[in-house]
Subunit: 394 residues, 2 copies
């Protein structure tokens, strides 16, 4: 063929992070067939869906097998019952301005984060480092110029905005609780970003996928911050809250107050979703709605508490050992500084070889991740406690 | 905000087709509260999912509620069991070169059709007219220059390629069986397009969403045509075949032989999907796989036969009346020329007022749709026969 491709794709860095990890683990297993492996590497949930959620899904599947209750094409932006349930959740977490009409249900936060650049023009992009790699890669694919907001030990991996003066209107990505660092902005920090966005005419894309892990007094949603309705969209997900990584459901909030020269951003997103997407499975949406009320909500909160207990146990060990880390409190992640100035891969090999523990070298999340390491709390309590014992020996 | 938006979105024509239809139907109902409405407008299935499929989905939901059988993040390009089942289907329809590794499972054909322009550069685009509006709209959103291949009475709404000489490498959309015309390319027609694409260095995006309706000796997949593996991707879907409009599952075939200057197109699509998408629900994939074998396949074929019987009944009436139409044989659509040189909307009002029948004016599918009308065979047999009786009176 002689057609032109989108050559920006060639600028995306090939990442072998998880395949490299898999290779090293495989070799370890071959060399040590009798050793147990404790997996704390991948950010995937492990607890099954609660019966309260699966029974709603089973009920929905049954409806699909009956002519009178069959559901064809779903509404493009989600069933009213789910948009209303999500809006009720926003009311609970202190953001009553998030009404059903501005909530767009999708097949997951990753899709929405990847697709949002579709509706935007050629703006400078500001992304924290370290960060979830999708923000960077999807913007490189669109040929955008990225500058990084440096997360580091000094600012607790919660970078604050640069000076508004001289900064062009930009697209800003924020993730709180952060993946991979587990760090969570407080009200002052997030207000600084909102004020910066308002002062520079910028748009914030706020990733709240780990919101449900917040228990301290920190913002659950950017719409708790005054002015956010004029500068921010928010992307969120049932993946971590309800264990939906394998079910696929998320949403994006696009307030109708977001405008550029009188043109509503919501019109662009609505058009994008209506043209390039066809809604989410009825069965999935029924399960998602079940996770947001009554027994379903209770059960999902219990699962979150289970993971948080793991995170707390890990945090206790690293605190006792005087190892610097972020996360562990309002997050399923522990982001620790590798002891003895080790690099992330060096530490990876050390704890795999000594303890059989698999984690993720910080190098996979940006240049500021160098010398850091991510552990997840998504394993079983028993394995996490075992890992804690090993880390105490460090 | 002062950021730049993707202003190409403003060039997309606002369509009020289905909302206009809804408004006219609502008014009719208010004016005639006792009249029955026969809906033959929207291309959505109406038969429920077969038990053979829903029982696989229920089983999958149960697995999700058990720690030992829970499934987290799905593989990015689909579970092996589903990719293998789709490959087996391609073998059955005469395209054994479509192997599991080149099949990318997604949440539906519409998503893939909308997202494919992501990976392409600024090429001229050739789209048949009339056609499914997503091809046009998603390319306008990317700022592409579109030329139309005219479908009309003369070519039976199956336009052939222009002269290869002087045609720049292009991106070509083909849909067969076509939505809205129901017309299906024969081997000669599709071979002409493949030869044209090979001669001009073009890429064909082949939409095979209605493939399961083909019973005559016509190509089910573009990979039945020699050379297609060097110039074509194919997008397909479980929506119409298995009644999955409300379940959401489709796929795209990207042969590894598709290359531009030694760069594989599959690498771009794989990267796009891995970055901006997170796979399809385990429950959905289990249901999709069930529809492709044994009892599931039998049941889905029975549903297709049910719709095809409706289409045949309609075709018989229009044939008897000497009204020109395409489709009705290998397709759930009848695309008819409005009698008496009426425009589509005029005919819409006529049959709504006289018979209570709702269809879709051809004007919604491109300028060549003017004066034509789409009827779908997705209603009940009883209603279709009733409609046939009315059309006989025309």
């Amino acid at each position: 063929m002689n057609i032109k491709l989108n050559d920006h794709f060639l600028e995306v860095k090939e990442t072998y992070l998880f395949s490299d990890i898999a290779k090293r683990v495989k070799k370890f297993q071959e060399d040590n067939p009798d050793r147990e492996i404790i997996r704390m590497g991948i950010g995937d949930v492990t607890l099954p869906l609660p019966d309260s959620v699966t029974s709603a899904m089973e009920e929905a599947v049954k409806e699909m097998s009956d002519k009178d209750t069959f559901h064809g094409y779903p509404p493009e932006y989600g069933y009213a019952f789910l948009r209303e349930a999500i809006a009720a959740h926003y009311k609970d977490i202190g953001a009553p301005t998030v009404t059903p009409e501005i909530i767009y249900v999708s097949d997951g936060a990753k899709s929405d984060l990847g697709n949002l650049p579709d509706i935007l023009g050629d703006n400078p992009v500001i992304i924290p480092d370290p960060v979830y790699p999708v923000y960077v890669d999807s913007n490189i694919m669109n040929g955008r110029k990225i500058s990084f907001a440096s997360g580091n030990e000094e600012n607790g991996f919660l970078p604050l905005p640069p000076s508004a003066e001289g900064t062009a209107p930009s697209v800003i990505y924020l993730c709180s609780p952060n993946n991979p660092t587990g760090a969570v902005y407080n009200y002052e920090g997030l207000t600084a970003w909102v004020d910066f966005a308002l002062a520079t005419g910028s748009l914030i894309i706020f990733d709240a996928a780990y919101e449900a892990f917040i228990t301290e007094d920190k913002p659950h949603t950017i719409y708790e911050i005054p002015g956010a309705e004029n500068c921010a969209v928010e992307v969120s997900s049932f993946s971590k809250f309800a264990g939906f990584t394998g079910v696929r459901c998320g949403w994006t909030v696009v307030p109708d107050t977001l405008e550029v020269n009188g043109v509503k951003l919501s019109k662009f997103w609505a058009r994008r979703q209506a043209t390039k997407f066809n809604g989410v499975s009825y069965v999935t949406q029924k399960g998602a709605a079940a996770s947001l009320s009554g027994k379903g909500l209770e059960d999902c909160k219990a699962n979150i508490a289970y993971y948080k207990r793991n995170a707390a146990a890990l945090a206790e060990v690293f605190t006792a050992k005087g190892i610097y880390f972020t996360g562990g409190v309002n997050s399923p992640y522990i982001w620790l500084k590798c002891p003895g100035n080790m690099g992330g891969w060096e530490f990876f090999d050390l704890i795999l070889g000594r303890f059989g523990i698999v984690g993720t070298p910080g190098e996979g999340f940006g240049s500021n991740g160098s010398g850091f390491f991510r552990l997840t709390a998504f394993g079983s309590y028993e394995n996490t406690i075992k890992a804690c014992g090993y880390f105490r020996e460090l």
